[in-house]
Symmetry: C2
Subunit: 438 residues, 2 copies
């Protein structure tokens, strides 16, 4: 019966002098002449193994770094060993021998590795506990996101990522050869989540991949990302959605603090507390651009004309300084910057918003148009034709409640929580224009 | 402040005589001359509204079926009303008027609707509480699946669905135009979940879409489905995986019984109890085919030569009769029927299995090859070349533990739990050769 590294001390306490079996990867080997120390790494942590003879496999070959082994032995207290306990090994089995030459050294300082090396060698780089901890945090975000919404009567949905395309006239779509026709990879589950609200489910969420065929390669973009989508019926305005998102993020942060302290510590990261989230300011688009421009001028920069990445950074710095919050909402985006389905608040503005967190837009949302007549009236403004929008029209024609929602980019949120420089670091197997493997 | 239909009686009890506001869809209208009864449908259920005048919208137009309304009024007990309470309406607002002509009548008996009508009119058909209940069950399956695995130290992962393709030499792949090259939609996260086990995460799961470009249209197949994937390290054989899957399914069934009784009741469905799951037999492939052939002969059918859909039905009937279980595992599949990465138990057989549930294969799994040398040796047998398998090779070269896993088809499991005739009924927006919308 295997014991995890973290449980060896407890097992020794319960049954002193008894042998235990551990399994994992060879993290480090120190040959001290007569004695050899091997650091074993498993999913729970590390454990020092002590060999009185040079450890070899059944063919007599020397142990290699990163090999998978099982070892039996008696635990012994040792204040100098990690966790205060070590295992005096009596039997060793090498179950998965690693080649002696590795592309790079797994137990080395990863801060010196470049992003391309990390991503090219994903199979090895994910073995660094620090890198793997990114994905512990990510899993915890998904869990907390889902739990919060379920507790508020939201139902999880799974919708198709193969869409007939062209409804939004978007250019950033990947085409799929689908039998004898072409379809597109969905940019978002927007239409489907609206259908589910109008179906009477009223409150839905989805965790699923989304695709953008953007050609540019920036630290903010992925061509495939995980979208945390939310949609709800019977709202008044985008303010209901911002309140929901604040509560949701607050719960995510609390859960990370509760269960992922070690993962956060590896990145020297912390998350905002409930008071800081509650204090997040909301600022209208026009005012936000004006403010960002002023802040840029004061910082020696030039005028800012829209909510570009530089503006997002200035607004987050301002929010931190003036409101002690890492989070700021910008609402009332102009109609020309938002898709046709966005609900207008007046002739030029919409009930839409972005959430900016630590310098980066992590979320976009808003109330949607639910009136068929208003939808039809607005189509020419967006260069769209009703005959190409039959499915969207049907959604609104048969009784649709006032509704809205938002989407959070999982990799962006993860990256900003941990302070990662590039969002690709927060994707297990990121895709960009050049990278499709591993 | 809106009150849900199910809470109106309680609200009336707490504050007798006070007005409440309800919102939802117009499910039914009965004009009784002086008085009009309207049945309101919201996510929680239905409520009878009573109008002393003919209900109209602000323009004076008559109320239409499926319109979204908000109504205020005083609740009154009425033993004849659904739930024993009705609302005497004093104010009505029509927030989303439905066109007077609907493609079909939502409140009619859906048992008479054909599958094509249901799928063509998804926007309306999902309004039938019975149809929507399929997806309540599906959401509960995903929740229970995830919770069970998390409680056993499994980490949720999200992996790319865009793969460089061709590694398995599969023909059933959809091609994607990815900038200046072609990639494929992933048939499964097989490679990625193995990478994550070997990375040291050891135990992972994923809930994500998977794609099969199969041309045939059967009640068992979808071209896009949700795969519930599991992979774990440090196993001995497929028996560890079957035990895990039994525990997992048992938890799923228990959770459905606990939280989805009303959804199950709508389909007159029940789920196996823990004893029945524990009693599930395991039968080797050769023996399973022989048994199915005998059963077919006894039933007046011909010989059965492999584990085809007919054999699956016979084996499930046998399991029900002989072991009182809806579930049966078939293991020891021949090497020729399994992919290259399957772990052989002898020259011809593998440590792999299928799970059959109520006549249908719902799951496939097995131990995987973790030895680089054995992998290289086996490649010619599968017509594969090492130079095309560099990523897979790297997975095994740098220390890989004994491991294995399985995948459950979410739509198939949902369909067999509820007794749906076609797996497409268990997909919100199913994709087949002819259907890519809505």
């Amino acid at each position: 019966m295997r014991v995890l590294a973290r449980d060896v001390a407890a097992a020794a306490g319960e049954n002193p002098g008894a042998e235990v079996q551990v399994s994992g990867w060879v993290h480090r080997i120190r040959d001290m002449g007569g004695i050899t120390f091997v650091v074993l790494r498993d999913r729970s942590g590390i454990l020092q193994l002590v060999f009185n003879e040079k450890p070899v496999d059944s063919s007599g070959a020397a142990l290699t770094l990163e090999s998978v082994i099982s070892a039996r032995g008696v635990p012994a207290l040792n204040g100098k060993a990690p966790g205060g306990v070590e295992l005096r090994v009596s039997a060793l089995e090498v179950t998965g021998r690693a080649a002696p030459e590795l592309p790079y050294q797994v137990n080395a300082d990863i801060s010196r590795l470049g992003l391309e090396t990390i991503l090219d060698n994903r199979i090895l780089s994910l073995r660094s506990p620090k890198i793997r901890s990114i994905f512990n945090v990510q899993a915890a975000i998904v869990e907390a996101f889902s739990a919060y919404l379920r507790s508020r009567d939201f139902t999880e949905i799974k919708t198709s990522k193969l869409v007939w395309g062209g409804t939004e006239g978007g250019t950033e779509l990947f085409e799929v050869e689908y039998f004898d026709r072409k379809v597109c990879l969905a940019q978002s589950p927007q239409f489907y989540k609206e259908v589910m609200v109008a179906s009477g489910m009223e409150r839905v969420f989805e965790v699923a991949p989304a695709y953008r065929a953007e050609k540019h390669d920036t630290p903010r973009h992925l061509n495939e990302y995980v979208s945390l989508d939310v949609e709800m019926g019977f709202i008044e305005s985008e303010k209901d959605l911002m309140e929901l998102e604040k509560g949701l993020l607050c719960h995510v942060f609390e859960e990370l603090n509760r269960g992922n302290g070690a993962d956060l510590a590896r990145w020297n990261a912390s998350v905002p507390d409930a008071d800081a989230v509650a204090a997040s300011p909301v600022i209208g688009y026009e005012e936000a651009v004006k403010l960002a421009s002023e802040l840029s001028g004061r910082a020696g920069g030039g005028r800012i004309f829209d909510l570009n990445p530089e503006a997002e950074r200035f607004l987050c710095e301002w929010s931190k300084k003036e409101h002690a919050s890492d989070l700021v909402f910008v609402n009332e985006f102009p109609r020309r910057y938002r898709p046709f389905y966005t609900y207008p608040s007046d002739a030029n503005r919409t009930m839409s918003f972005d959430a900016l967190f630590r310098g980066l837009e992590i979320s976009t949302g808003g109330r949607r148009q639910h009136s068929y007549e208003a939808f039809v009236d607005a189509l020419p403004r967006f260069g769209l034709k009703l005959e190409n929008m039959r499915n969207y029209a049907a959604l609104l024609q048969y009784g649709c409640p006032p509704h809205g929602g938002f989407a959070i980019g999982l990799e962006r949120l993860t990256a900003r929580i941990l302070g990662l420089a590039n969002v690709k670091e927060a994707s297990l197997f990121p895709r960009d224009r050049k990278r499709v493997a591993p």
